[in-house]
Symmetry: none
Subunit: 209 residues, 2 copies
DNA sequence: CCGGGTACTGTATATAAATACAGTTATGCG
DNA sequence: CGCATAACTGTATTTATATACAGTACCCGG
């Protein structure tokens, strides 16, 4: 993606702010008004250039048909500041499918770094010593890759689990943070294994007694 | 706010999904198409009813002028969905004074029971075994009263601390959840002591490594 | 000094979209 | 039963929006 000129950046920022503020992208006229242009075509020109530079996507013939392409926002989590809560995940099905969404919590995805994509309710106390307790909502950033030492959401033989990842050459260890639990050792050449995401935060709203 | 009929709920969900998927609210025609209506007015009718029931806001004369008002499932309290983060609390000053507000986090106060009033950054690891770690944001419900056994934000001799409360007749104990720390015993007749609030939840957004 | 890019003005127009008006069918309520 | 309400069909009309076409002014590099 090319660099944007200062003016183009301002237009881009205005689009982003408009989406945040009003919940929808601006029209050409609204851009015109906001910048004091005397022609809606000034806005049109800028949008074309932003599209050329891959900063936005224009949906032809569509009112307010502007999409931000840069990393700014957008993902499984929307800008309105809510995250889907994923419930019990069925074997063999993708974690973010509609069927698993049990609700939405109004928690800003951008509160976490990197951005959280969904919340997962933690079962069991295998990560107790990392301060992750039974019933906690784990904020997860969707990713198929993770570094050794990170706490990850992993899928082993169609079962979803939260553990600390440790790489050992061709094998992978999933370590609990509780001496009462045993580590899971995986031979990546033999066992079915996939990383679903990286733990980026936590929300606890019960069991505080 | 009234309840929505199943069909109205479907329309509402469609609007939410459309915003998530495409980055903008749907038009009447798009709703019509998605539900197989033969008239755009069917969509118009539904939108009117959703507005009557305070589920959405319609911006008149505006393309895609639909705003979600109640954030799906979450209790529809009219709050702006954010909580102040209280920083270092100066001696002798009330905890919720403007001077201490370090920022606001977009976290729904109604996510916690009872409702959270502010977030407090936890210092130290004295509550480690309760899953409350250094740097965590404690969600606090403002209250001058608390039951024995609850985790409270207390002020002892002008110092603010988070501990488990235990009542012992005329005295009060503030118990850490970490054997490395010692309990604080207070004679309520002699010592300056006040409960600032009750811990109702937790948000962690760092130190997840 | 010419060509190309940025940053616009000004006018025009097809169409995307909101929305009014007039009905229809079905259901539940008192 | 009559009546309100939900959930539509069908048609029409305005207006909001996207977008084409024709220019102007300025800066920059070759």
């Amino acid at each position: 993606m090319d660099e944007l000129t200062p003016q183009q950046q301002k237009i881009f920022d205005f689009i982003r702010k408009t989406i945040e503020r009003s919940g929808m992208p601006p029209t050409r006229s609204e851009i015109q008004l906001a910048f004091g242009f005397r022609s809606p075509n000034a806005a049109e020109d800028h949008l074309r250039k932003l599209q050329q530079r891959n900063a936005i996507e224009i949906l032809p013939g569509t009112a307010r048909g502007i999409r931000l392409k840069k990393s700014s926002l957008m993902s499984g989590a929307l800008n309105n500041g809510s995250l889907p809560l994923i419930g019990r995940v069925a074997a063999g099905s993708p974690i973010l499918s509609e069927a698993h969404v049990q609700g939405r919590y109004q928690v800003d995805p951008a509160l976490f770094k990197p951005r959280a994509d969904y919340l997962l309710r933690v079962r069991g106390s295998s990560m107790r010593d990392a301060g992750i307790l039974d019933g906690d909502l784990l904020a997860v950033h969707r990713s198929a890759e993770a570094r050794s030492g990170q706490i990850v959401v992993a899928r082993v033989h169609d079962e979803v689990t939260v553990k600390r990842l440790r790489r050992r050459g061709a094998s992978v260890e999933l370590l609990p943070e509780n001496p009462d639990f045993k580590a899971i050792v995986i031979d990546t050449r033999q066992d079915s294994f996939a990383i679903e995401g990286i733990a980026v935060g936590l929300v606890r709203n019960e069991r505080l007694l």
